[in-house]
Symmetry: C2
Subunit: 285 residues, 2 copies
Amino acid sequence: ADDAGQVERLGAAARAAGTIIGLVVDIDLGTHRTGVPPEQVATLARLTAETPGLEYRGIQAYLGHIQHVADLDARRGALAAATQRLSALVGELGAAGLAPQLVTGGGTGTYQQDLAGGVFNEIQAGSYVFMDVEYEDCGAVDGQAWPFEQALFIAASVVSTRHKTHVVCDAGLKAHSVDGPPARVVAGAPQGARWRPMGDEHAAIFHPQMMGVLKAAGADFAGAITAADEDAAIPWPADAPKVGDIVWLQPGHIDPTINLYDALLVVDEDGGFETWPVDARRSSR
Amino acid sequence: ADDAGQVERLGAAARAAGTIIGLVVDIDLGTHRTGVPPEQVATLARLTAETPGLEYRGIQAYLGHIQHVADLDARRGALAAATQRLSALVGELGAAGLAPQLVTGGGTGTYQQDLAGGVFNEIQAGSYVFMDVEYEDCGAVDGQAWPFEQALFIAASVVSTRHKTHVVCDAGLKAHSVDGPPARVVAGAPQGARWRPMGDEHAAIFHPQMMGVLKAAGADFAGAITAADEDAAIPWPADAPKVGDIVWLQPGHIDPTINLYDALLVVDEDGGFETWPVDARRSSR
């Protein structure tokens, strides 16, 4: 919760239902999404502790604005400042008789430093389970290689191969969220092939040898595709995927992409498959 | 289908299953996604007609690259050229004994001209049922007001109101696809309020009076939010939405946004509600 009205309504709802709701006070340390400013935490924590029907459980500070900062020194510096502020706050709350049982926050992009900081006792990292292009490219906060492997891929089927520049697969806007980086082609097409959505149900897989032709064309993308097809001096790439081939894509941003699927197909170590339903798919709406 | 291999595999599959599959030949008139060039249509149509297990049903040409062209003269000109080519092709196919029963294509962005052209006998318009920001802004091809009203909205709940510049609602990247224009705020917030995603489960609803403050800040968006909060000369907007209020959003691009939901809540003319499942949600994957 991040305001008094929420605390009061939740307390009333808990009392009406004859139950107890455990609550953490949400703190804004710079993401500016939800959360109270640090100097107002104690007041809201006290209100929570004193409201019948509620149990004051602690504090939460998700530092969303820091997770993907590419400059590692900047990411570390911002996190160090936030951790210092949070540490002081934990002390202030303790002195006021409001010691937080739970100090929850952190994420995949900062988890080593979150742990080393010694303030959080719960880390909210989730993307590390599967990873994605965004986290792979921004790197681990300690500057070392990620200890997490890419573990989730989209199996796109090639459905049309009518152009020299690209083949078309069935993984478009309904199969991959485009809020983050584009999906990365990791197998099933020549090294360096690029995925680009071509509508709701389709995407192009551009051949790496054709990127120069397309870039030279600038805005007239469609014209460049036609020109390449009609130019006898440009051969059809022999190693392009064929209709029915699977092209494996690494998602750009894992969370909203998983949200597009009802189930994950999981490969066991023994080579068997299991289907895991995505239970939480609708829970955030 | 758009190549001989597909036609042969579909024929074999139909024969193996003891059934007949009706097939249209897909034509590329500039979208460069799927489809054969016009000059190859007759060959593929003949192969389809002669393949046991298949029934040659006609031709399809979806002009995806034309639907949203904002310059109406350019949209009309491109469509006229495509229609002329398609019309000639229908004649050629007829002369070759391959007259297409079905000539399918067209869309919301061109439907009046699609009909007037007299070539299509099936129009693939779908977005017109609900409309969206993208189609509203690009306008009808005849230059008149759309005869279709906006008919689908996202009900976002305000969950946090800690900043002068914006409130935060629960409709983020998992509730609205961001491949197209941002969602438009149509009710529940002051006129001119702007929706911007703030992660997987959240979005900001920026107050119209605060857009100047934010624009002046340039890249330091977070700093501008803090500065406004701390500047006593900037009042808290009295008409900002409150926690629990519903803000109504018009989707930017309807197709991949509907794909995020399992059901639509439909308001009957008598004021009652019905829940319509989104049956096709997974069918394109």
